[in-house]
Symmetry: C2
Subunit: 287 residues, 2 copies
């Protein structure tokens, strides 16, 4: 029997889980060892699903690193190193170039990995390991009633870049993980995650993990194209940080308040007067 993603993840949750797995409901695993706390994540990208068969493989390598480091950023972690699972194929020299650019840009290093030769569309994996700069490590599950809901920047830029808008091309091809922002925010936030699958879907997940509702004000959400608000808040790949913070918190970085955490109501998410109850309808495109 093959399974869909929610069923498969539910089955994984019934396996022996490490306490640091956070119930498989966070961006990263958190591993405490003596006096150190590690933050660890693994993401895959597949040709045809996460990148186009004609994509510049340097961009693909960059994005593989950047998306994993964005998960570390959302936990306030400082990158230590990455392990690459690589399937050989077209333009591997370009892939190496993009990998080098990303490692250098984000001050991290290659720790190891595996290289295989196989037929068919390519699948690439990356494990990123970071060191927590603040404990407790921010979770998706910490949002509290009365907190403000914030994002660090506009959503929808990656969508416009994907469509060919040259002003936003880099947002799609070469996203930048907000490592410094995440580190600055970690001591201040009550919950934090990166927006990888679309603002609405990721906010829905934060509400679910926290057992609260998030009431968002659509007019307050910064978007790359105001005429296309509904798409901008459903499209993914922007990698801004979504967080909640107590009303009195002094934020160390610029951010936009987009809503308020409320007691758990019938819907995990409110967009203005619209109750959003079904996560399946929230993602416009999953990058």
């Amino acid at each position: 029997m093959s399974m869909n993603e929610p069923d498969f993840i539910a089955a994984l949750r019934a396996l022996p889980l490490h306490p640091g797995a956070r119930g498989l409901a966070d961006d990263c695993a958190v591993l405490t060892l003596g006096t150190e706390t590690l933050v660890i994540t693994h993401d895959m990208m597949a040709e045809g699903t996460h990148f186009r068969p004609d994509a510049d493989m340097a961009d693909v390598a960059w994005k593989l690193v950047a998306t994993n480091l964005s998960d570390l950023a959302a936990k306030g972690a400082e990158p230590v190193g990455v392990l690459l699972g690589h399937m050989l194929g077209r333009d591997d020299a370009r892939f190496i170039e993009g990998l080098r650019a990303a490692l250098e840009a984000f001050a991290t290093q290659l720790l190891g990995g595996d290289t295989i030769a196989a037929a068919g569309p390519r699948a690439l994996g990356l494990t990123a390991i970071g060191r927590a700069t603040h404990t407790p490590v921010p979770a998706r599950s910490g949002a509290k009633t009365g907190d403000g809901v914030w994002i660090t920047g506009p959503v929808g830029r990656a969508m416009l870049g994907f469509e060919g808008d040259s002003d936003h091309r880099a947002a799609f091809d070469r996203p930048v993980p907000l490592l410094a922002e995440g580190r600055a925010l970690a001591p201040v936030v009550s919950a934090m995650m990166d927006v990888s699958d679309g603002l609405l879907l990721d906010a829905f997940r934060m509400a679910e993990a926290s057992g609260v509702s998030l009431a968002l004000d659509p007019s307050a959400i910064p978007v790359a194209d105001p005429a296309r608000l509904e798409e901008c808040i459903r499209w993914g790949d922007d990698y801004v940080l979504l967080f909640t913070a107590a009303p009195a918190a002094a934020l160390p970085v610029p951010a936009h308040r987009i809503g308020t955490v409320t007691p758990r109501g019938p819907a995990p998410l409110l967009l203005g007067d619209t109750a959003l109850t079904d996560s399946a309808s929230l993602g416009y495109r999953h990058g």
Copy 2:
């Protein structure tokens, strides 16, 4: 330009490498954090290359865990947890069953990972994280002239199992990482690795990493089928431990002495009187 595996790995070595990467010439990365030392590895398995399209997915899951834990075993590390990179597909419920069996058998836990849907042959990745039980963590590079060369058990069983020999079927389908043996050996050995790609090829790699030659006595190598010695020592997937130790070392586990470490000669590997200089000829089948 696409690249072959040696060229790609050479290009990776020219990237910013973490000191714990051991020059990408060992089974695992070694990460020292405060008073703890972590041992980390990542291996991929692809349908058509590492498992047959009709394989029992429970066996595939087991093997994915077991082969990664075998890398930890070769470093004397105790498993902490694993991150799974999973591409959804046929028989995912069976995959979960095999994953559970392996996690339980080897007393480890799921830490996290990623689940994707993609077309084409499946690729699966696993990152295993262990805690070193002895430092310095054994490397491939520590073999010294005069040391004995040892393996913990016969090679060729996986080959016979792959061919359908029911006595050896489990050796191929459900290999067992030698975690207890690796922990016992770690304080005693001068170099250690697991035999995943065939005894000759892996011994060649140890010789190269150590800057020595290994002189093996073919009549001393325990093999599953003596009539097929040449195949048994080239076939992979047996996951016994290959190690070197000083002549006076008291070995804590049963092992077979198969040779001696000699000063680096023209060939990294001597099989009786035969000098083996080209690693490309050593692997019979790469599992």
